[in-house]
């Protein structure tokens, strides 16, 4: 008899279709042209959820590549397009409050919240080793923050209760970003080390003062999404500052609220009360299974965030199979491509490879193999080939060699070549665990050809996997392995 599915199984069963739906919609939204502030904010939240999901330890490699690809593309929209305005919304928020037009204030504060989201996303990218802090843009985040704090202050001083919710959300969002920056690994902070802590203290003092106002109190007490967010931030602040954690969640029934605020509240609880968090998930899971596919994107994104947090909390280690769909529109004919860029490639089948040749090939370490293989590459700027063949390994590196090529006059492609020398592979064949290194370049380049170069043979599971990826996603991946590699190097006088 089949065992009853556990809570974890049921959560995973829901994560898979929800992620498929969200990822497809995320790619669609990005390709749709104009994006409103609201749309951008939803995409930013989606990127944060994708980052959480990527933090799970085990995931099918193509799913990981597709999630990363979407995350980078959203980051481009949120950070590079929005924050490129050097957080000017922080500057204008004070000005707009001064003018007093409510629509203008709401619009500018919505942009400020998006800018805050941009810096939170940047922190995730830094943590992934894909970006660094300290650019001019980041410095403006800190230098303009004072204006935003003054803007929030001025907004409350107007004593317009209609704007209190907006002001409190913005202050809490800011507080959250500064908490995340202050709590980040010291090595990541570099520039922000002093500023974030100082500004965090200032924003926290402001927050504590404002929430004692009776009119402000009624705003967050009537709104569990906001009220729970406040408690979450108070508790996290107390924890990070080494204070006694005294803030407690009110006992409010949130079940009658719409899904989006309900999920926000559950998400806030999840950081502090695992038992209640688990209980709420268990209670709601059957309904979510039934209806979540019909929800709007924002509610689905929040659900993904809640479910992922549950898996993280329960130390989920099993392989996650999301089975994401994506198909490249490229039409690369590898049979034509390979002889174009690898000298004497067509002569490989006719070349006799002796045991002595294989012994030579196996004696090369990684830098030596890269250098010799580089000398077999043709039709590409030799300065670039030379530099790529000798570049040191870094954390941010995606393939051992990344070479720009012109396959057609209008578009640059990147030829990415991951290498594996015999010394690097201890087993007889290259195991499937190396598949991610082969597909990873596709998360950065839409137009990309990967040629995997290995002194040892690929294992059958790895070859099957490559074949499947080629067919399903139309990603051009070629392999030069073992005696083919020896033959190619021999033909080019490199063995």
């Amino acid at each position: 008899m089949k065992p009853m599915p556990t809570m974890i199984d049921r959560v995973v069963d829901l994560i898979t279709p929800i992620t498929q739906q969200i990822v497809a919609q995320g790619y669609d939204e990005l390709g749709s042209g104009y994006l409103s502030v609201k749309h951008r904010e939803t995409l930013g939240l989606l990127a944060l959820s994708l980052h959480d999901l990527l933090m799970l330890p085990s995931m099918q490699h193509v799913d990981r590549v597709l999630l990363e690809k979407l995350l980078y593309k959203i980051f481009q929209v949120i950070y590079d397009e929005e924050a490129l305005s050097y957080f000017s919304s922080f500057y204008y928020s004070l000005k707009k409050v001064g003018r007093g037009d409510i629509n203008e204030i709401q619009h500018e504060f919505a942009k400020s919240n998006l800018d805050i989201l941009a810096i939170r996303l940047k922190l995730r990218l830094v943590q992934m080793g894909r970006a660094r802090f300290g650019d001019s843009t980041d410095r403006y985040f800190f230098s303009n923050l004072d204006r935003l704090l003054r803007g929030i202050n001025a907004l409350f001083q107007k004593h317009n209760t209609q704007l209190y919710q907006l002001g409190l959300y913005t202050l809490l969002n800011l507080h959250q970003s500064l908490l995340e920056l202050a709590g980040a690994d010291e090595a990541l902070r570099v520039y922000s080390i002093g500023e974030s802590t100082y500004l965090l203290q200032r924003s926290h003092e402001r927050l504590e003062a404002l929430i004692t106002w009776p009119d402000v109190k009624s705003v967050y007490e009537d709104n569990p999404q906001l009220g729970f967010f406040l408690i979450d931030q108070q508790r996290k602040y107390q924890e990070i500052m080494g204070q006694l954690v005294t803030a407690t969640f009110p006992k409010i029934d949130i079940a009658d609220r719409p899904w989006t605020p309900q999920l926000w509240a559950i998400r806030s609880l999840g950081f502090h009360t695992p038992a209640l968090f688990g209980q709420l998930i268990e209670e709601n899971l059957p309904v979510w299974h039934k209806y979540a596919s019909e929800w709007e994107l924002r509610a689905q994104v929040l659900l993904l965030s809640v479910l992922t947090h549950y898996l993280q909390q329960n130390n989920y280690q099993s392989m996650l199979h999301l089975d994401l769909s994506y198909r490249s529109q490229d039409q690369i004919d590898l049979d034509t491509f390979m002889p174009m860029y690898f000298s004497h490639y067509q002569d490989i089948p006719k070349t006799q490879v002796e045991q002595e040749d294989m012994n030579r090939l196996f004696s090369f370490d990684d830098p030596e193999l890269r250098k010799r293989f580089g000398n077999s590459i043709t039709n590409i700027d030799q300065v670039v080939v030379h530099r790529e063949a000798r570049k040191p390994h870094g954390v941010a590196e995606i393939a051992d060699m990344e070479l720009p090529i012109r396959l057609n006059p209008n578009r640059t492609y990147y030829l990415c070549i991951p290498f594996k020398s015999a010394a690097e592979i201890r087993t007889d064949t290259v195991p499937i665990s190396y598949a991610y290194q082969i597909t990873r370049p596709f998360s950065f380049f839409d137009n990309c050809v990967v040629v995997f170069v290995t002194a040892k043979r690929c294992s059958q599971p790895l070859l099957n996997d490559i074949k499947q990826v080629r067919e399903k996603h139309n990603w051009p991946i070629a392999v030069i392995e073992h005696n083919e590699l020896a033959a190619l190097l021999k033909l080019n006088g490199q063995l």
């Binding site: 980078y72 481009q76 490129l84 001019s136 530099r387 990344e402 720009p404 640059t412």
Partner: protein
């Protein structure tokens, strides 16, 4: 160079190295070094190339930095395709207006690179 102007801190032969990774490229400068802040530690540049199409921005920045990494100043590149640059040029945001007023072309691919 006029009297009182500050020399652009990246030499054109170094900027020319970008042509090894980008077939067509224009490099503009803007930002603090232009404002004669001699102690500016970093140089803001805008690199415009059609070759950036289909490359995520984190990778564009990485590619440009790798080529220009051995400079005595830190490079902060904004990497745009021609379409993205045009969009920014047409924007009326304060940033775009300020950027346009300070942009100065410091390198462009020669016709023989085409």
């Amino acid at each position: 160079m006029l009297k009182g102007e500050i020399e652009f801190p990246i030499q054109s032969e170094n900027l020319r190295l970008l042509t090894h990774i980008l077939h067509h490229v224009k490099v503009y400068t803007f930002g603090s070094w232009q404002l004669k802040k001699l102690k500016a530690k970093d140089v803001d540049i805008v690199v415009v190339s059609p070759d950036f199409a289909g490359v995520v921005n984190v990778k564009r920045v990485e590619l440009v930095r790798r080529v220009l990494e051995n400079q005595r100043v830190r490079i902060d590149p904004i990497c745009l395709t021609q379409e993205e640059f045009l969009k920014l040029s047409l924007s009326s945001s304060k940033f775009a207006v300020t950027l346009k007023s300070r942009l100065s072309l410091v390198y462009e691919t020669n016709a023989d690179n085409d």
